[in-house]
Amino acid sequence: MTSADIIARLEQQVGDKIKSKNLEAIDAFVVVEPSNLLAVCRFLKTDSRLEFDFLNCISGVDYLEIDPKKVAKAGFEPHLEVVYHFSSFRYKHRFVLKVVLPRWKDDKPGELPEVPSVTPLWRTADWHEREVYDLSGVFFTGHPNLTRILLAEDWVGHPLRKDYEFPLEYHGIRGR
């Protein structure tokens, strides 16, 4: 199945849970609300014609232009995206799903946006979600052990956020 077929199948079966779709992109994708993510993912995994039994990757993308001169040309509002790449061993097809989030929950800086965890469906998601939490600052609700995976436990901030400020000092070692 091509991505277009998969999107058609999704719209037919769980059309009310799909927020938007993009067929022009190189990898066509759909966008879902965080509240509908688990239902759509469960459908993707269990449907007999899709059977996405493998979660390749979860990525966090921060859309923010920090240069005030380029903000007008940036072409997007500041937001955060979580991108899921799936593939199926049985049907040898792939699919991309995105969740669009505000950069901060309720626009309060420091409050991480929340997404339901997909660890009940794919065990791989455990470490992927920890990495996204660690570097991009997305809180995955229902994750069994959401701690930092790469950086030290006592690290402050999420370094792959565009507005991240580098530490001046870490445990007595000068940072820059």
Binding site: A152, P159, Y164, Y170, I173, G175
Partner: protein, 210 residues
């Protein structure tokens, strides 16, 4: 050694205790088996048969800091690793020496500007004796760094304390001896010859059009 020299049997040599100890020490620097990133691969190559760091007496890589004299910090040190590096350094017995191998350990290297988790030089964590720049440095460069450590050991004055520490004079300079056709008494002429040679080699190395 003055009037003492040559007065004894053939197998007896005279030296000062300090020199003898320094000679023994510099001839068997034991590095620690300790690599953090890609520079460690180059360090392994230095230890292997082609470059053979054992020729300089530093081939016995110890698996514990308690038996090592020399820490070759080979690779990027990040903040999470820095405390471990410092602990390893503290566990080494005195006298101990540190070589900062590679651009990352010398000053952050390619991670200097955007590396949020990289220590900008291992000298912020442990005292460094010799810096070996390069990304990664060639094995020859690491051997050169080892020789500088040996010079430093040679100049150690443990037994005669109270003397000022002097900058060691390198016993092996590491300069390349140029063949006579590239050398000249006049430095400017020599430079011209070398540039000409470099130009010719570059032309020779240029890919031929198929």
């Amino acid at each position: 050694m003055g009037w003492l020299e040559g007065r004894f049997e053939e197998s007896v040599i005279t030296t000062s205790l300090e020199q003898a100890i320094n000679w023994a020490r510099e001839s068997s620097m034991w590095p620690m088996t300790f690599g953090l990133a890609c520079c460690a691969i180059e360090m392994m190559a230095t230890g292997a048969s082609r470059y053979d760091i054992d020729r300089f007496g530093a081939g016995a890589f110890r698996a514990t800091p308690r038996q090592a004299d020399l820490m070759i910090v080979a690779g990027t040190v990040n903040f999470k690793m820095a405390s471990r590096v410092r602990r390893l350094y503290n566990q080494m017995p005195d006298p101990k020496f540190v070589i900062a191998m590679g651009a990352c350990t010398c000053g952050g290297g390619p991670y200097y500007k955007y590396g949020y988790n990289v220590v900008k030089g291992v000298d912020l964590v442990v005292p460094v004796d010799v810096y070996v720049p390069g990304c990664p440095p060639r094995p020859e460069a690491l051997l050169e760094g080892l020789m500088r450590i040996q010079d430093k050991v040679k100049a150690m004055k443990d037994l005669t304390k109270g003397q000022p520490l002097t900058v060691p004079i390198p016993s092996r300079t590491g300069y390349t001896l140029l063949p006579p056709e590239l050398n000249d008494a006049d430095p400017q002429k020599a430079q011209e010859k070398q540039n000409e040679f470099a130009r010719r080699t570059k032309e020779k190395a240029a890919p031929a059009k198929a």
